[in-house]
């Protein structure tokens, strides 16, 4: 197979960090080349350079054997290099066809384009209605539109940045089928991921990045998941979390028939019922946007309940304030670390001090620094000092600050929403162990996560949320039947 693309000695510096430090990468015709690495390893940065969104400080790109100067997405697309970014770049108020019509190769009428979209959709199995407005589409459909946009332009190199993060298992399957088709047409695909199993399944070659450097590039048949994980973090990672048998006790949290609206005023929770007992982790799986966030916020007291009741240790807390719930022992790990959980410009110490049970008016910095140093030590937070703004910490260490603060109050109920999103493997393990430890000490844990392996790894029971309701429960064994069952429930099928 012919080499289509070569990147040599790419260096990219951001203020204060070297994001890429002499990276080499290449892609052959009709090949799926996975780019694997922890968060912050430089995967997306490298691809942003290839797509012309960033400028490399050093290094060169060769495309079809010739040196290529890519200084904007326009250049990249004209050459046949396209990228589906993590944050979709679609105009919500436009139709699918209008979105495809935008920009380069702007000669065809929208009607013709719609016809082409249908052909492409048919051929690759990427079904979508060309006349639907983008805001009406699901996340999975939007991703298909992004891919169709590139195929319409005849892209020879397609970059997919963490494409499966937002998909149901079924949608992932059909994406993989489309990728196989692209391979068949000679299109090279660069697949960015941090999910080892997917990388093993779909790719022909794998390049592992770590801290801006290439650890290695190997064909799939020389790799297995353990080896990849080792390459990613540089040490053996326990992928299966060890945990003891749960000893469920009293019901801590009981949600009964709760209805609530989303920010946009749509129905987000639709009479949801659930119970969490002490000493157990209830994992809630579901496609993003089915009411997970609203469920967490309703329990934490951050969102108004339209109807229904929430009981905490047999007490009706439906109308109680956030502060009341915090003091009663409800801890909340929100999905948005920078912003909801932490105040980015305040120091580590101040953030740790934000929630305290004693409501003193005056505080001394000596005292909170002392307290912070103690927590930094005990929770293994890597920070040069408790006096630096928390926004300068890595994602993993920010999460440790959140966990330290929340767990210090010895909560009886912990609500964790995507607690490991954006974290590297080592930090993920840390979060897992913290949650399991809290459970073993008798806390009830409600885990809302998009990643199925996380749900399987941690939960003692698994519930599936769909359109604001729990559609069913399964046991947490990751057997093929259970995965199938969860996939169906995530798609709204009641079992």
């Amino acid at each position: 197979m012919k080499t289509v693309l070569e990147m040599k000695g790419i260096v990219k510096r951001f203020p204060g960090v070297v994001a890429l430090d002499g990276v080499d990468f290449d892609l052959k015709e009709g090949e799926v080349h996975a780019l694997l690495g922890e968060n912050g390893a430089g995967k997306t940065t490298l691809m942003n350079i290839l797509f012309g969104l960033y400028k490399a400080d050093e290094g060169e790109i060769r495309y079809m054997g010739k040196r290529a100067h890519i200084s904007s997405p326009h250049d990249a697309l004209r050459m046949g290099i396209g990228m589906v970014q993590q944050h979709f770049t679609l105009v919500p108020s436009f139709t699918v066809a209008e979105n495809v019509a935008l920009g380069v190769k702007a000669t065809e009428s929208v009607r013709n384009i719609a016809k082409k979209i249908e052909e492409i959709a048919d051929f690759y199995g990427l079904e979508v209605d060309p006349y639907a407005k983008v805001w009406q589409l699901s996340v999975g459909e939007r991703q298909r539109v992004e891919i169709i946009k590139l195929l319409y332009l005849g892209a020879r190199v397609v970059i997919l940045d963490e494409p499966t993060a937002v998909l149901t298992p079924q949608e992932t399957r059909s994406l993989f089928k489309a990728i196989e088709k692209m391979k068949g047409e000679g299109t090279g695909v660069i697949f960015i991921s941090h999910k080892l199993n997917e990388v093993m399944e779909i790719s022909d070659r794998v390049t592992v990045l770590k801290k801006g450097k290439v650890v290695g590039t190997l064909p799939r048949n020389e790799l297995d998941e353990r080896k990849l994980a080792r390459m990613m973090v540089g040490r053996e990672v326990v992928m299966k979390v060890e945990k003891s048998q749960p000893k469920p006790g009293e019901v801590v949290l009981s949600v009964e028939g709760v209805h609530a609206l989303s920010d946009k005023g749509h129905k987000a929770l639709n009479g949801i019922d659930l119970q969490v007992r002490e000493g157990e982790i209830l994992g809630i799986a579901g496609v993003a946007g089915n009411g997970q966030r609203e469920l967490a916020e309703v329990i934490a007291g951050l969102r108004e309940v339209e109807s229904g009741k929430i009981y905490f240790l047999d007490e009706d807390i439906t109308e109680r304030s956030v502060l009341y719930r915090v003091l009663k022992g409800i801890a909340y790990i929100p999905q948005d670390r920078k912003g909801v959980a932490l105040s980015p410009n305040l120091t580590v110490a101040e953030n740790l001090f934000l929630k305290r049970k004693d409501r003193k008016v005056w505080f001394s910095y000596d005292e909170i620094f002392r307290m912070a140093e103690n927590l930094i030590e005990r929770y293994d937070i890597k920070t040069p000092s408790p006096a630096i703004p928390v926004k300068y910490l890595s994602g993993g260490n920010m999460q440790k600050v959140v966990i330290a603060r929340e767990f210090e109050l010895s909560p009886k109920l912990i609500i964790a929403v995507h607690p490991t999103r954006g974290l590297d493997v080592a930090s993920m393990e840390y979060v897992y162990r913290s949650l399991i430890k809290a459970r073993d000490e008798g806390a009830a844990v409600l885990l809302l996560a998009g990643e199925l392996y996380e749900i399987f790894n941690l939960s003692d029971r698994v519930g599936v949320i769909y359109e604001g309701e729990i559609v069913g429960y399964t046991s947490p064994e990751p057997t093929p039947e259970n995965i199938e069952k969860i996939g169906l429930m995530m798609a709204g099928v009641r079992i």
Binding site: L53, H74, M83, F88, T89, S93, F94, A101, L102, V104
Partner: protein
């Protein structure tokens, strides 16, 4: 008061508003908020008047106003697109700069006479009873009539319009499709500036034939309200502009007939009062703003390489 007279007055008063509103619609559709309309209108009015005074050619004067308006708006484009300055601040600066410059440079022209656009009756149409009033106007009014459907076609039926809207709605999407977001925003801001200045030039070339300091008298601000009123659509802008023109002319007429017991000052407030109400309605809620179709990226600078 006869109806034809009312129509004529409303249309004449409304035309400068129409030009400025259409200009701002183009600018805002690209995601740039230009609050410098008042300054642009004054600069346009002075440029038009000065050129007409010196050359006696009203059309030349009108085109001079267009060009100077585009160049003046270039300042705002540079500030808000390239330097990514807060667009509200930059726009306000433009207003102050415009009224300052036109005030100083205009000193020499105060009280001087110049050429003026003459009324042209459209054969046939102007004979129709009542309705004919629309066709006994100066050429710039007719230009306004033509501009509205043309602009609508441009925005909603051409690929350039699609590009313009995409840049205002989701610049990152446009960028990833190879559209030069910066160029589109520059061009839209300049085109908007040219049209706004044309609205100003109407005041000194058609509505009157003289230069008066600050002669735009808040019309730039009314136009900004009208953009919202019109939901960024040219046809609604036409209705809105003439409606406001009607309110403004009514105010003059009510004063003239001396409506009993109502202070003239109160009547003069009327158009501005309506503006304030429109603005309050607009900012009432995010959902309202969404529903009436404000460009999503309005007022938000775009930067490609941003590390959060």
């Amino acid at each position: 008061m006869n109806i034809e007279g009312l129509i004529a007055a409303a249309v004449r008063m409304g035309t400068p508003l129409l030009f400025a509103t259409l200009g701002e619609i183009i600018t805002e559709r690209s995601g740039i908020l230009n609050l410098g309309l008042e300054g642009l209108m004054l600069v346009g009015a002075l440029t038009g008047f000065a050129t007409s005074y010196m050359t006696g050619n009203v059309w030349l004067a009108f085109f001079a106003a267009l060009i100077v308006g585009a160049l003046f708006a270039l300042i705002h484009a540079f500030m808000s697109v390239t330097l990514r300055v807060n667009q509200v601040v930059s726009g306000l600066a433009l207003t102050m700069l415009g009224s300052g410059i036109s005030g100083i440079l205009g000193k020499a022209f105060v009280g001087k006479p110049a050429a003026k656009f003459q009324i042209v009756n459209v054969p046939g149409l102007s004979q129709v009873p009542i309705f004919g009033a629309f066709f006994k106007m100066d050429p710039l009014v007719y230009l306004g009539y033509v501009l509205v459907p043309l602009l609508w076609l441009f925005i909603f039926r051409t690929r350039w319009g699609l590009t313009l809207r995409a840049v205002g709605e989701e610049p990152s999407a446009a960028d990833s499709r190879g559209i030069n977001v910066f160029l589109v925003r520059y061009l839209a801001t300049m085109a908007g500036g040219a049209l706004t200045a044309a609205g100003g030039a109407y005041l000194s070339l058609a509505a009157t034939s003289m230069w008066i300091e600050n002669m735009s008298a808040g019309r730039g601000w009314i136009a900004i309200a009208l953009v919202i009123f019109s939901a960024w659509e040219p046809f609604k802008a036409l209705v809105g502009a003439y409606l406001f023109g009607f309110v403004m002319s009514l105010q003059l007429r009510l004063q003239a007939v001396g409506v009993a017991h109502v202070s003239a000052d109160l009547l003069m407030m009327l158009p501005y009062l309506v503006t304030v109400v429109a603005m309050i309605l607009f900012s009432f809620s995010e959902t309202f703003r969404k529903r009436i179709g404000a460009p999503s990226a309005l007022g938000v600078p775009y930067a490609r390489e941003e590390k959060s």
